[in-house]
Symmetry: C2
Subunit: 346 residues, 2 copies
Amino acid sequence: MNKINKIILNSPLDMHLHLRDEKMLELVAPLSAKYFSGALIMPNLVPPITAKKTLLAYKTRIQNTTKNAFTPFMTLFFQNYSQEFLESIKEDILAIKMYPAGITTNSENGVNLLDLKSLAPTLKLMTELGIVLCVHGESSGFVMDREKEFLPIYESLALAYPNLTIIMEHITTKEACELSQKYDNLYASITLHHLLFTLDDLAGGFLKPHLFCKPILKTHEDKEALLSLALEANPKVMFGSDSAPHPKDKKEACGCAAGVFTAPLALQALCSLFSKHKKEQNLNKFLSLNARSIYNLNKTNFINKNITLIKKNFLVPKSYDLGSEKVVPLFAGEELDFSIEEISTL
Amino acid sequence: MNKINKIILNSPLDMHLHLRDEKMLELVAPLSAKYFSGALIMPNLVPPITAKKTLLAYKTRIQNTTKNAFTPFMTLFFQNYSQEFLESIKEDILAIKMYPAGITTNSENGVNLLDLKSLAPTLKLMTELGIVLCVHGESSGFVMDREKEFLPIYESLALAYPNLTIIMEHITTKEACELSQKYDNLYASITLHHLLFTLDDLAGGFLKPHLFCKPILKTHEDKEALLSLALEANPKVMFGSDSAPHPKDKKEACGCAAGVFTAPLALQALCSLFSKHKKEQNLNKFLSLNARSIYNLNKTNFINKNITLIKKNFLVPKSYDLGSEKVVPLFAGEELDFSIEEISTL
């Protein structure tokens, strides 16, 4: 097989993205909008997005920042909602995101998963209205076991709501990979960083705060299981960067916030990774087609773009300026071997 | 039982201590010397200590800094040494410290443990001369498994050299705790931070660089196993702080160096811990008597001191000044509930 030196991505979608707000939104949203056709926007602002007015205002802020070159798929923060409310907001959202309370950045208002029954009315309504449920699936147990401990809850949800589409967000373990294959209505998003790194990269040599994320990086075996699903573009999985910017001072600090900022280099790094494994032919599925199928999206639902990448070194910026602060991306100051060559909006 | 509000420690010994050199030595050595009678001084300087001249010069620098109020027990960095050399240095050292290559701060020149046979001549000589072997017992595998993977090497050493005293330094796992009970010639040192923290404290919430150490913090089950040995003052274990200062800029950084700085608060924190578990009566064993027995030390071998602690809040300094830099201790800016009341040199 000849070496593939050019990869054309058709409307890449990032199905798990943190755009934050205000200054940070203005910095990071254009970086996603440049390369992606659309993204599923996480609702964990402070306070989280639970009302139509705040959701639409946030969407407008994103659109103003991204100059309509990009489709923000909006999400609500899970709580019990009325039928009337859900019917009124159905067309404005693609999914509702459920967080266990206190498990990650700005998730203090999340749900108590010991009380799944109390969530039933909303989950039933979501099923009826065809709203997707996205879940940050972690227990409050030992940090390396949190996802594994959460898997029975995914199983309960999948069994109790067979017609509800459930996304296990940013899966990180072999066991979650296996579970994604077990129930028809259970899907998963996979980040770039969990395909590339393990706890050894975070803490095996020096401690690397810019690799600190939730769920935490896991073992080599876990990474291999994720890689295997992604490289084959298994139809139950799709790309969701979980790109989560924080100011440098919040990362290189005494109490470092969780999140890896990957939006501006995710496509380049994915091309390198899939190219290394000679799986370039599966990249469009992992980056777009699987998500369209899982979320029932068609070409009219997002801005269509072709992104052409070529085998040419790309020097990742050391940081992005955020006023007087800086935001450090993954691979800051390092070279990736694929670069964006051309972007054409269709 | 009445609440014990006063604890008198008789000549506490810190059997695993990093004093570094130059400015850092001048800052941290007096902090250990103030509260401890003596300490086993680690040899992983740059370059490591492998010659009599550099060892004695380092000892002199320590003594000059600590004004003879403290006994530095010196160690050599393990490599193959001649009989002549070991005989000549025997009286100047208490132990030889073995590092697998590249596993922790300044261990680049360590041994290749795949080739244990090549170490045999020196290990035989150490046995004959009664020199203790201290080992940093970690493989180069997955960061959470490194100590467990190393245990068969401890077993091989314990079996092959039944008359060699072998110290498993800073043990962190349940399995190492169990192994310490299995061979008569196998002992262990235990740090303060591994008695108090798990990976959850390092990375379960925010990432805490000042809790980053090698071996990495482990699970709750591991911590409980260590606590159980320490609180009972099991005769196979002793205190070794592994207090390892780094400048603040090296800790709160993009690549944070491993090491927790505990020397100035270790006694206060140990009193709190043992008091909480109503095991104050075992503290002198864990902090001094067990080490004397393991290393064959008697009162003439170190400066004798009584350290009196009382139940009274101690505010740990936010940092210690190192010229223009700072060194941040464990519990910086927090209060411990035992304070040093009196220090009397006997």
